[in-house]
Amino acid sequence: MSYDETIIDQAVRVGQQARTDFLDLRGDQGGVVLSAVAGAGKSYFISETVGIARDHEMRVAVAAPTNEQAFGLVTSIAELNPSVTVTYVPANNVALPAANLRANVVTARPPRAAARAEVVVGTLDKLSDAFIREDLPDFDGLLIDESFQADSARYYAAAAIAPVHLAVGDGGQIEPFSTVQAAERWRGLDENPLQTAVGVLCRNHPQTPVHRFPITRRLDPRAIPVVRCFYAPEHHFGAAVLPGVRKMRLHDAVAPTDRLRRIDGALDLAAADGWTHLELPDAAVLTCDPDSIRLIVECVARLRDRAPQLRCERNPHWHALQPQRIAVGVSHNDQKDLLRVELDQVGLGDVVVNTANKLQGLEFDVVVCWHPLAGLPEADGFHLEPGRAAVLLTRHRHACIVVGRQGDRELVEGVPPATPAFLGHDPDPVLDGWGVHQDVFAALELFRIAL
């Protein structure tokens, strides 16, 4: 037995209720929200809902904020509903990757080719643009994936596509943000374009049913105590997979140096307990700290050298960990670029490196996370944003190795700094992040290794 049937039953009931609420709204106007934690099976739920909506002869539009998320939805919907033709509506300079193409997928180029389609998939921007240009007609239902990542402005553009909405997403991920300081002008106000799609829907329509998926299929029970820090206490959830089902084993290897022995210790701990918090000595460093880059590359290279093998509920036989199932998660593009070059140079070109923004919605077996606060002289709103850490610490199925510095914990010790107050509903990333990071550091205490 691999699964916790109780949690799965609860999740099925919640999903069914959300879907029923959505289908019952047909002919009316309104929305339904399904909030889920990382790896809850949101895409599967959406794909299943598309099939059932088609059984009810509803024409549906499915949207997500980014191209990569839309690609994933196209594949998932097409695979789960082979009798449904999925019409992908791309932007001019975007093409569906060959790996995402299925027999029942067509691409609508130009978008008006999708005028009679029954299921269309695209980014929020593309679908709304095509709809406003009258290339696309009205649909019966609009399903939005990653709707906590979609901002109010994008939702405004897409909302008229259908009178009935199902907004699915992970409330713990990165909130919409802006590159301009002037965005603070709207904070707390009804018209704030940076509030989430779910936020603006619930603010204007407080009667909107909000369902909470009580499950994570990606994370296993060892991950839950740390990951729980990122979610509201009232959002109860558990792992679908039972303890001990997922295992990772590493071959023994001779470590000629003390540093390598410690790295081996960190890898062994991650393999056994699912977590390691590896700390370099305290120092205030540059964004692209060379020591952190070196350590991350060493960790990944050593992991490869120790020929890791996995088994899990999907594949109960021991099998090799593939390099493309390893990811390194960072906060800045320049960190990503430097790591990319360094990993390529040691033959780890297949290992994925990306920023938290781009890793949202993706899943790996092992993740090495460059902690957002690592080596900062001062904690600021960008790095404290709890969603960033949440994404980085919830991408893994087997193990997560968090790389930081010993001074990082001190950054969030004591009373948080004074931040400007804004009238109205306004979550403060600094205050939220301060508390969340304290809790995460405390939860990682058992897995800490000093380098």
Partner: protein, 485 residues
């Protein structure tokens, strides 16, 4: 950014600020108006003292007496309103006609430019405008229409100040920080006096010590230290002497002690503003300032025309306006970053260090390189550079030639490590039509920055149901009636 860290360390070692830009990235007009405000610590929507002038030695100071009193605050503002409105509306008289295909419109050829000490002053100007622009011109508390006109301009100025690199109002501390790097903290850098002292430390002092001495004297608009405590007995005496009267004949003769309190404070701020203005003006102006200046002229012309025809402005934006505004601001910011770095090699250094740009000598140009694009062969020129540094940009990344930042992208095709840490990089132009290519023997810089216009969101005119409250909020009640009830 790492280059700032390097410059901050050098500033500390050399004892004076280091330039982070070799050009001036804002236009400073010939005839700006310098404005310095002071306010009471607890009254953010009134001016206790106003200093203004169009020349360094031409300062006019107005003092309200007690700005908590509406009549007294407005009296001082009325004195300021005349010269300010004359200055602000003057450039709108001189216009040129711009023709865009079949559409022609008029645009002022210049703008009025306010130069102030810091961003707190910009915020205060916005607060003042917000207070004055919506005053009623009838009823028992009718305000002079001149005050309302005065309010509408500062409201526009404060809103326009959110536009990246606008030049309508220039905060000297922000401008100086954009052009110089010191070893001061952000908090210390916010003091124009400290910043100025670090940039030009007097008498061989180390910049840190000069800043330490200079920052003791604030430049407003908010009082620091014991300033309000020193003012309190003066104001008490003033209020006792005027005995609730606000008639200028009574009040003006009583203002002496309060004027004496504020005059040195205003003079100091005013002198600092002009000093920084003169220093920054000595630098050559970046070419792209002209584009932003035209954008400023257009926004200014629209504002003046609207003020003359209608004048009313919303206090809050609609969802649609806010959504369009934030995208426009983000686009503008991206273009400004790109313009500044492609104009100014010193600004590009940060991008080179961060692995967002590469720079090298062009060693080969294959203008007629062809390859299969979709289904037919097409020209895709190749340019090979020798870079002195290792290239840390991954293959496949799209970059833009800094000489043509509006042009098509170039894909980083190949990186070959060369001896001594150098690298040979081949870039491929992603179009077959082009105006120019880098030449062999010249240096070329490619970066992630481009100044082409970005995606513009298309938004429906009708507000969707999701953005409309299910139940309307209660109608606002008159504040006077509510208090009476």
């Amino acid at each position: 950014m790492s280059v700032e860290t390097l410059l901050a360390a050098r500033a500390h070692v050399e004892g004076r600020a280091q330039r982070s830009a070799s050009l001036r990235h804002r236009r400073l007009v010939d005839d700006p108006m310098a404005v310095a405000f002071w306010q009471l610590g607890a009254e953010l929507f009134s001016a206790a003292a106003i200093g203004y002038g169009r020349r360094p030695n031409d300062l006019t100071i107005e003092v309200a007496g007690d700005p908590r009193n509406r009549d007294l605050a407005f009296r001082a503002l009325m004195e300021f309103a005349g010269p300010f409105i004359d200055y602000f509306e003057g450039p709108a008289q001189c216009r040129e006609t711009i023709t865009r295909r079949t559409y022609a419109y008029e645009r002022a050829t210049s703008i009025p430019q306010l130069i102030v000490a810091n961003s707190h002053t910009v915020a205060m100007i916005g607060n003042l405008g917000r207070r004055l622009a919506y005053l009623s011109t009838d009823g028992p508390y009718a305000a002079d229409p001149q005050l309302i006109r005065l309010g509408r301009h500062p409201m526009f100025i404060a809103r326009h100040s959110l536009t990246p690199a606008q030049q309508r109002i220039v905060s000297m501390s922000d401008l100086t920080r954009e052009h110089w790097v010191t070893a001061l903290s952000d908090y210390e850098n916010a003091s124009l006096a400290a910043l100025d002292a670090y940039v030009e430390p007097p008498g061989g002092l180390h910049g840190f010590h000069a800043a330490n001495e200079a920052e003791v004297d604030p430049v407003g608009p908010q009082p620091e230290g014991e300033l309000d405590a020193e003012l309190e007995p003066l104001m008490d005496a003033f209020n006792a002497a005027r005995d609730k009267r606000t008639d200028p004949k009574v009040v003006l003769p009583l203002l002496g002690p309060i004027s004496a309190h504020y005059t040195p404070l205003v003079e100091r701020a005013y002198e600092l503003i002009w000093r920084c203005y003169a220093r920054e003006r000595r630098l050559p102006e970046a070419p792209s300032s002209q584009r932003r200046f035209i954008a400023d002229c257009e926004a200014y012309t629209r504002h003046i025309d609207w003020t003359n025809r209608i004048g009313h402005r919303r206090t809050r934006q609609t969802h649609r306006q806010a959504a369009l505004s934030i995208r426009a601001l983000e686009d503008a910011q991206a273009v400004v970053w790109a313009e500044e770095a492609t104009d100014d090699p010193l600004r590009m250094v940060g991008y080179l260090l961060d692995g967002k740009a590469l720079d090298g000598e062009v060693v080969r140009v294959d203008e007629n390189h062809r390859e299969i694009v979709n289904v037919k062969r097409a020209r895709r020129p190749l340019v090979t550079l020798t870079c002195e540094e290792p290239c840390r940009i991954p293959r496949g990344r799209i970059l833009y030639w800094s000489e043509h930042p509006r042009g098509a992208g170039w894909r980083l095709e190949e990186v070959v490590a060369a001896p001594g840490g150098a690298s040979t990089v081949t870039m491929k132009l992603l179009t077959g039509t082009f105006d120019a290519l880098p030449c062999v023997g010249e240096r070329a810089c490619f970066s992630v920055l481009h100044t082409d216009s970005h995606y513009r969101q298309n938004l429906p005119r009708d507000v969707p149901w999701t953005h409309t409250p299910a139940t309307s909020p209660p109608a606002p009640q008159d504040i006077e009636e509510r208090q009476a009830a």
